[in-house]
Amino acid sequence: MIPKLFAMLTTLALATGSWWTAAAEPKLQVGVLHLGSVTDGGYNQAHAEGIEVMKKNLPDVEVIQVENVPEGADAERVMENMIKRGAQMIVAASFGYLEPAMRVAQKYPNVKFFHPGGYKRTPNMTTYWASTPEAFYLMGVAAGKTTKTNKIGYVVALPISFFLANINAFELGARSVNPKVETRVVFTGTFLDPGKEATAANALLEQGCDVLGVIVDSPITVVQVAEKRGAYSVGFHYIGVSKFAPKGWVTGVAFTWGNLYTRFARDVMDGKFKSEDILGGLADDFLTLAPLGAAVPKDAATLVEAKRQEFIARKAHPFQGPLNDNRGVERVKTGETFPLTDLRKMDWLVEGVVGQPR
């Protein structure tokens, strides 16, 4: 009965015409997978808007986009379906898609894959990310100048190395202008759970934190909780999130993937693709520090800008030794730095951070 019904519907649909030949053949079809919603005001929206910019820059490119794709069995199916529908380039825009993407990449060696934050590759896969610790350091400077209770709360998805590095840099930046600042971390265990995020944010505020930062897919929940309770907030991922905190906005770092995606698509079309590991930073066009909010003291802007120039000129380093972790173990010796290319190995939290890296 059911197959018969479907068969009937198919026939009808085919009969209504203009079925496969809707538009002119695009030069390149790009399949994009998102873990969450493309209107999350955060991680997913940043990728989706990057894709929009790419579409504007390259009108010949057609995009097939699927949101809310779980990281297990579903991710592989969605990628394969995209390829079966003609996608020659796949952007698997979540960390947990790494292995599904690699499996599909091995099956389709002619399709080019792009994965943000991946730590391994296939010959037809490029990984890309922007090193965020410098930006977090600068956010720490701004927040360290803004806090009155000297307690800053961070709601973080998972204790993966990149995130630990961000929190460490943030605390070091805050301490550089205000030695009394401590950063309290709560891990929610998942990239998106507004309920847990709200609970964590409220708990941090109740512990006396007056600035909240956030490293989850959608910063909206935490930023809104902070704003509602008269606290300050530091954003992440998506530049537009400041509109949720008109009063308490401190600053934020956002990914602006548009130009990078345009380059990726152009390379694929021109046959110039090569598998590489791209790690950008403050000097690159895909990482942007949001303007400081009204809540930030005036002298902070000068400090932030000065430090920013030092970072870009490589005259300063966010992880300058001596650094101890928050259990008292020395991690970086005096005069040495923790290399930004080794961020994947960072598994400790710096002195001044309250929390455990697991």
Binding site: D74, I160, G189
Partner: protein
């Protein structure tokens, strides 16, 4: 006399109970699809094309069919996990947690016994998966049998405990040292991966699911054990007076149900993920519970309902691809189907 009527019932089970509900189910599905068609029209899309897309992508090619089967595998098992205890009016909402514990136990074997020959290792993994999930559910069964805690509450709460247990292990002692601190175990050795069919992702777990369905159907319809289960389900007090040890049945049905969910966890972690991680299941345990409800706990109905849900999930992605519909629209389709089917059930005594 009671026995005679139960026997007649068992014959109905085998024949009449199969065809009629499936037909009704198809009719309800048609209503749901018609309602969702209205939603699609509101979005300015052609519903016929949308359904054709779903159909051609899931059932119109060997690949689509294979992926539908992949998706059905855990759903059938977790649905049976709810269906078996439901025969004696137990409400097992704990499929998700039982799946996680099953995966956890199987993972232990995959990591620690990786030197064993594949056949042996996979047998141990499956046995541990079944036992893990089964014993996890049996805790709730024991609490219920003793008259202390309702199994609805305990199975639900134990889901969170199970997931936290997995989190503890993958964030801590079992964490892959080469995984950038990402919470996941090391990749399983080839011997710990269930065999797949040809070049597809259809794995031996599907056989587990189908065999489990047939065995459950047989046990419930054709054995003395099943007869007594139906006696308890029909009238627990009468069954007790007839000397049926209800407590034992509570424990055993929970053990079987939980074991099947645990087997689903074993199959997913071995065949689909190849390592244990917190994102093991996008809510298979809860979907399975709904499927069991939709099917009224009937094994054949479960396969049909799992098929429909698998097609909707897999086809939902296709709607996003071909119709540029937001992901949430797929959730509307899922909700419409559930409402229609559950509304039918609310209308019954």
């Amino acid at each position: 006399m009671a026995d005679a009527s139960l026997l007649r019932d068992s014959r109905l089970d085998a024949l009449g109970r199969l065809a009629a509900p499936l037909g009704r189910f198809a009719a309800l599905l048609t209503i749901a699809l018609a309602l969702f068609a209205a939603v699609l029209v509101l979005f300015g899309r052609n519903p016929l094309r949308a359904y054709a897309d779903i159909f051609s992508s899931t059932l119109g090619s060997a690949y689509g069919v294979s992926e539908t089967l992949v998706k059905m595998t855990p759903l059938i098992l977790t649905a049976l996990a709810a269906a078996v205890p439901s025969r004696i009016w137990l409400i097992n909402v704990g499929g998700e947690g039982q799946l996680f514990v099953g995966a956890l136990c199987a993972t232990w074997a995959a990591i620690h016994l990786d030197g064993l020959p594949s056949f042996l290792l996979l047998t141990i993994m499956a046995a541990l998966g079944f036992l893990g999930g089964g014993l996890w559910a049996a805790i709730a069964g024991g609490l219920r049998a003793g008259g202390w805690v309702s199994e609805t509450i305990s199975t639900l709460l134990m889901n969170y405990v199970a997931i936290l247990l997995v989190n503890f292990l993958v964030f801590g002692p079992w964490k892959d040292p080469d995984g950038v601190n990402y919470p996941q175990t090391v990749e399983f050795a080839a011997g710990a991966i269930l065999p797949m069919l040809g070049g597809t992702r259809v794995h031996l777990g599907l056989v587990f699911a189908l065999v489990a369905t047939i065995v459950c159907a047989f046990l419930l319809a054709r054995t003395r054990w099943g007869l007594e289960v139906r006696a308890i389900g029909g009238n627990a007090e009468a069954a007790r007076r007839n000397g049926i040890p209800i407590e034992r049945y509570v424990l055993v049905t929970m053990l079987i149900g939980g074991g099947l969910a645990g087997l689903a966890g074993m199959a997913e972690v071995s065949a689909i993920q190849g390592r244990l991680r917190p994102s093991l299941s996008p809510g298979y345990g809860y979907s399975g519970f709904l499927i069991s409800w939709m099917a009224g706990g009937h094994p054949a109905g479960i396969v049909a309902a799992a098929f429909v849900l698998a097609v909707i999930t897999a086809g939902g992605d296709i709607l996003q691809m071909t119709q540029a519909l937001p992901g949430s629209v797929v959730n509307i389709l899922m909700a419409v189907v559930l409402f229609v089917v559950l509304a039918r059930q609310a209308g019954r005594p």
